[in-house]
Each structure stands twice: as structure tokens, then as C-alpha cells.
């Protein structure tokens, strides 16, 4: 029953319509997005394939757009009973901060802090997990990427600031 409800959820139509909107915007702005002063005739140029695929997207989104604005009587926003994705949203935001952290505080500090906060958010709060896992994994990351693979990590901005 849940599956049937989920398959007919209006969330599908909303996401489908958003993709369609995206394709429409890209199609409308294509002359500014692609340099069309290229080869003649047109089919040799760089815009033929994008036009075809964006048109495909737009066409495929029509049923979703139609249902979004003219929903059937049984339509509902219910998806799968999983609720709002609060934890995944927090973790995704932490990932973005983590990337900034790599620039500002460096690999080791950013990784340790990210894992510590993330484990707290997902409910792994025993001292061993909360302190042990980030410490162990940060050491593994440093050993693997810095010592073994010799990957370049720029000097953290904050370190540079304090060194000056």
C-alpha cells in the first residue's frame, strides 16, 4: 500500500517539473551558453546535441508538469513515510563546511572535526566511537594521502595567517 502511495506521490511530479524547468531555462539561454559561431552547417556544430537532449528532458517532464498543476483526486504529498530528511541535510551541510575546512584548517583538523560532529549528529555518541574513530581515521587519511600517495594539500589559510 505504501509503495503504491509512494509511486503516485506528488513529490515525483514536483521533481520532474523542476528538471523540466531547468531544461527549459537551458534551452532558452542556449545561445548565451554555447558559442554558436562555429562550423556551418548546423549539424556539425556544438549545439545540436544539447538542443536534442534538453528537448528530450522538456518533453519527458510534460506529464509531471501536467499532474503537478492538475493533480488527480487521489494525489498526495506522501512519499515513503521516511519523514523530512533532517539528518541527511545536516550531514550534507557539514560536507560543504568540510571542504571549506580543508582550505582553512587543513586535512587533519578538518577531517577530525567533521567526523566528530557527524558521528554526534548520526547518534554514534559513545566516547570510543566519538573520539577513537575520528582519531584513527584521520591518521589513516594522513598516512594514505599525504605519506603514501603524496597528494598536495595547500598550507591551511589560518596557519598562514598566524605564521604571518
Amino acid at each position: 500500500m505504501n509503495n503504491e502511495k509512494g509511486a503516485a506521490s506528488r513529490v515525483h511530479d514536483l521533481v520532474g517539473a523542476l528538471f523540466g524547468f531547468f531544461a527549459a531555462v537551458m534551452l532558452a539561454t542556449i545561445r548565451w551558453q554555447i558559442d554558436t559561431s562555429g562550423p556551418d552547417p548546423f549539424y556539425k556544430g556544438p549545439s545540436i546535441f544539447p538542443i536534442l537532449v534538453l528537448s528530450l528532458m522538456l518533453l519527458a517532464s510534460i506529464p509531471a508538469i501536467w499532474r503537478l498543476f492538475r493533480p488527480p483526486s487521489s494525489a498526495a504529498w506522501y512519499l515513503d513515510g521516511g519523514g523530512m530528511p533532517v539528518k541527511p541535510a545536516i550531514v550534507a551541510a557539514l560536507l560543504v563546511i568540510y571542504i571549506a575546512g580543508l582550505v582553512y584548517v587543513g586535512l587533519a583538523a578538518a577531517s577530525w572535526l567533521f567526523m566528530f560532529v557527524c558521528l554526534w549528529v548520526v547518534g554514534q555518541r559513545t566516547p570510543v566511537k566519538l573520539l577513537g574513530v575520528p582519531t584513527l581515521m584521520t591518521s589513516v587519511l594522513h598516512l594514505l594521502f599525504v605519506n603514501v600517495l603524496d597528494v598536495f594539500f595547500a598550507t591551511p589559510v589560518l596557519f598562514e595567517f598566524f605564521m604571518e
Partner: protein, 501 residues
């Protein structure tokens, strides 16, 4: 051919290749056993590390994860009725009832022997079929490649026809992603939104890693921990005497391995179809069809032989045409191209050592995975007790740092996060995410071959109907589409008749 096979055999046993093969198999078995992860996550997380490796070692490592994942997936399906990989769902139909009757060892013997047999049979078919297909593909021009790629596109869409509009949307989005960046022919920038970072385009690696790696881990973050109370093993290793009991189903083993290979060969079909088809055919040919679903080792054997034959089957179109059969082999295509090796009909001639090393690697991966699971059955089965959210956090950190390490560009990590969020949404909605990846992979091939075909024919697509191979591919595509639609219609009509009666 025999000389190349011998050279490949010795190259396969080089210390680097052997280490890659064994480590990849180990990782594959672990991610296969963990429900919700699977070989795709394992492959994309390891992908950044492969760029520092020799191509044969990198491919053996990832093939180990690919094949090992299918081996591992059967274990929780048998012990807990929770498939580690989606295709192992079929294994649970008979595996779990056997476990409940106290015959877990028989079920596991059938699953492992089936996986092993499926893998080995598919390698033999790969070795003999790849040169034949490669020979045919040598006469391919742009129209033929375009037709073959469109064949793949149609099969992918057809495989998810129950979500047709959503599948087409994602395919279109995948195609669009493949166009971002500098156009290779005219050097015109496309969809870079005025930024330099996007001029290089959106790489397949961060896209795949985001969609499958980060997207799946975001799902794991909010998922409950598995109930492992039903897990019951009488001993810590596999009971080898049970293998003899299962060996009497050797015909089912052969048949299922062949079905799995040919299903894997077709783009977009995937391992779930291979499992279901093998299981269904085994039931039809069985002396005791009524036992299927109630707990027969033959059912476990058929399902596992079918799904484990898929990896080698999917390698056939990848090696001979450069067209990956599924998302997993698309990742392998990435490894080839990053190392400057372009799969296609000439690959077998240009890189005989690499190809023969791969053949042997797949063969030994199957042996390694079988032995690992047979000897360390209980330790591996216990892995499911590790909290999934803890694993998710570790995988996320590894993925982000790994993706940065490939090109030392934080932009790639940002792309992976954006794709991860998109992947999470699509996974929650149960949209066919494979279509998106296939769009990204096939987009380049379809666009280039389309433009070359149009240039060749001065803008006239009727050239596709004048060349025998393209015409053959188009007729085959049309035939498959029509037959599938007719079969669907029949099933629907039969359902209506049964309901009304």
C-alpha cells in the same frame, strides 16, 4: 591466442596485480555483505586510489570489488533475508527458508558454489566471444557506433520502462552533463556559466562517486541498524561436505551461468534480471519445481550463478565496442580512458597482455572470493553488525579526500557533494539512477558519432538504413522493443482475466 593467455597468466601473478586482486576482492566481499552499500560504492571509493596504479593492477582491484560484491551479497540474503546487493534478493527466496530449517550451511554452499560457477563460466564465454565480437566491430564506422550506442540507450530505457518518463528525464540529464565543458571538436565552451572550473567539464568520477557513494551514505545516515538476531551459523567455516550435495545440480549451474553472461552482455539489463531469469529457468527445468520458494539449494545456486556471471558478461561490450553494459562497467571505462586506453575493436590487438591479464584476474578473483568466504565465513558474516551510520561517515570522508586527490581540485569534491544530494533525492524517490550514469557515459559516444554520421551523410540520417550492420542493429532494437511491449501487454491482459475470473 594461447601465447597471449600464457603471458596474461604470468602477468596476473605479478606481486602488484595479485595484491590488487586480493585487496579488491576483500573490499568487494565486505561491501557486498553490508546491505545498502554494494560493489558500486566500493568501486567509486577506491577509484581515486587507482590513478596512482598501473592499469592492469587498477582494473584487477576494481574487478575484485565488482565480482567480490556479488559473492558477498548472497550471505546476508541467506542468513537474514536481507540482500547485500539487490540481485541477491532472489537468493533469499530459498536461502532463508533453508536457514530457518537449520540448513544454512547447505544454502551457503549452494550460493557460494553458484557464484563461483557463474563467474568461471562467464570468463570462458568472455575469452571466446570477445575476439569474435571484436572482429565484427573492426568494420564499424561512425554510423555503426551510433546505432550500437542507441541500442544501449534503448535497452536502458526499456529496462526501467515502469518509470519511463523519469528514466528519460534522467537519461537526458546525463546526456546534458556529458556536454558541459569545452566541446572537443570545435573547442567552444558549453554550459560553463562563465567559470573556469567548469571548462574541464564534469568528470565521470565525481559524478559517479557523488551519485552512488555519497548519495547512498546519506541514505544510510537515516536508516535503522539491521536486526541481526536471526543470524545463525553452526560453524565458522563453510561445511565443505555440503558442496558435494549441491554439485548434483551441475546442469542448473551451467545454464544459469550462461544466462547471466548473456544478460550481462546487454546494456542496461543488470544483475537483477540475470538472477530472476536464471531462477525462473531453473524452476522450469527442475525435477521438483514445487520446492522453489520453500527452500531448495537449487534456487540459491541458480540465482547466484546468474548474478555473478554478469560482471564478465558486461565486460564483453565494454572491451569490444567501448560501450559499458552497466554503471559498474562504466566506472571501469573511466579507468581505461584515464590511462589513455580506449576500449574498442582494436583493444584486443593493441593491448593483448592487458586483456589476457584481465581474463585471468577475473578467473582468480572468483577463486579468491570463494576461498575467502568459505574459510572466514563467520567473521565476514559478523560485518553486518557494524553500525551503518558509522560506516557512512567513514565512507564520506574517504570519498571527499579521494576525489580531491585525483586532480587536487576542490571543485571535484564540490561536484561530488552536489551529485550526492541529487543521488540521495533520486534514491529516496526510487528513480532509475542508472539512466543518469549511462547518459553521462554514453553521451560523449552518442554525440560524437552522431555528428560524424551527419557529416558523413551531409545531414541525412537515412544513412543508418543503407548500411547492413546499422540496419541490423536498428531492426534488432525495434524487435526487442516490440517483443517487450507485447509481453507486457500479455501479462497485463492475463492479470485482468485472472482478476475477473
Amino acid at each position: 591466442m594461447l601465447e597471449n593467455l600464457a603471458l596474461g597468466f604470468s602477468a596476473c601473478f605479478s606481486p602488484g596485480n595479485l595484491a590488487g586482486l586480493l585487496f579488491g576482492t576483500f573490499v568487494g566481499v565486505v561491501v557486498g555483505i553490508l546491505p545498502g552499500l554494494g560493489p558500486m560504492v566500493g568501486m567509486v571509493v577506491l577509484l581515486p586510489f587507482t590513478f596512482a596504479l598501473h592499469p592492469d593492477v587498477a582494473l584487477s582491484l576494481l574487478l575484485g570489488v565488482f565480482c567480490g560484491g556479488y559473492f558477498g551479497g548472497g550471505i546476508p540474503a541467506v542468513l537474514m533475508r536481507t540482500p547485500g546487493v539487490p540481485s541477491s534478493l532472489v537468493t533469499s527466496f530459498d536461502g532463508f527458508p533453508l536457514t530457518q530449517r537449520g540448513e544454512a550451511q547447505t544454502a551457503l554452499s549452494a550460493a557460494l558454489l553458484g557464484s563461483f560457477a557463474g563467474g568461471v563460466i562467464s570468463v570462458f564465454i568472455l575469452v571466446f566471444l570477445a575476439p569474435v565480437l571484436s572482429h565484427v566491430a573492426a568494420s564499424f564506422g561512425p554510423p555503426e557506433y551510433f546505432a550500437a550506442a542507441m541500442f544501449g540507450v534503448f535497452l536502458v530505457v526499456l529496462a526501467f520502462r515502469h518509470r519511463l518518463w523519469q528514466g528519460l528525464l534522467l537519461l537526458g540529464l546525463g546526456f546534458w552533463i556529458s556536454t558541459v565543458g569545452i566541446d572537443g571538436v570545435t573547442l567552444s565552451p558549453r554550459f560553463n556559466f562563465g567559470t573556469y572550473a567548469m571548462q574541464n567539464g564534469l568528470d565521470l568520477v565525481p559524478v559517479c562517486l557523488g551519485l552512488f557513494g555519497i548519495g547512498q551514505t546519506l541514505i544510510l545516515v537515516e536508516r535503522r541498524i539491521l536486526k541481526t538476531g536471526t543470524m545463525n551459523l553452526s560453524r565458522s567455516t563453510l561445511d565443505f561436505s555440503k558442496l558435494l550435495v549441491v554439485l548434483r545440480y551441475w546442469k542448473t549451474m551451467l545454464r544459469s551461468g550462461m544466462i547471466g553472461t548473456f544478460v550481462g552482455l546487454l546494456p542496461g539489463t543488470g544483475s537483477i534480471l540475470a538472477s530472476f531469469m536464471s531462477y525462473d529457468v531453473a524452476r522450469r527445468f527442475s525435477k521438483n519445481p514445487n520446492e522453489f520458494g520453500t527452500g531448495t539449494p537449487e534456487g540459491c545456486l541458480a540465482s547466484e550463478a546468474g548474478n555473478n556471471a554478469v560482471p564478465a558478461g558486461a565486460m564483453i561490450p565494454l572491451l569490444t565496442l567501448g560501450i559499458p553494459g552497466d554503471a559498474l562497467s562504466a566506472v571501469l571505462l573511466g579507468v581505461f580512458t584515464i590511462n589513455g586506453i580506449y576500449p574498442g575493436p582494436l583493444l584486443l590487438v593493441k593491448e593483448p597482455l592487458l586483456i589476457n591479464t584481465l581474463y585471468w584476474s577475473i578467473f582468480f578473483i572468483n577463486i579468491a572470493a570463494f576461498l575467502m568466504l568459505a574459510i572466514w565465513l563467520r567473521p565476514f558474516a559478523m560485518i553486518v553488525k557494524v553500525p551503518s551510520s558509522l560506516l557512512a561517515v567513514i565512507i564520506m570522508v574517504m570519498s571527499i579526500v579521494g576525489i580531491y586527490a585525483v586532480n587536487t581540485r576542490l571543485f571535484d569534491a564540490a561536484v561530488a557533494i552536489a551529485m550526492g544530494v541529487l543521488g540521495y533525492i533520486l534514491l529516496r524517490l526510487k528513480w532509475p539512477i542508472v539512466n543518469l550514469v549511462m547518459g553521462v557515459v554514453l553521451g560523449d559516444i552518442v554525440e560524437n558519432r552522431l555528428r560524424q554520421t551527419l557529416s558523413l551523410s551531409e545531414g541525412n540520417l537515412s544513412i543508418l538504413f543503407t548500411r547492413p550492420i546499422t540496419l541490423g542493429i536498428l531492426v534488432l532494437t525495434a524487435l526487442i522493443v516490440v517483443l517487450t511491449l507485447v509481453s507486457d501487454h500479455r501479462k497485463k491482459t492475463r492479470g485482468v482475466v485472472l482478476k475477473s475470473s
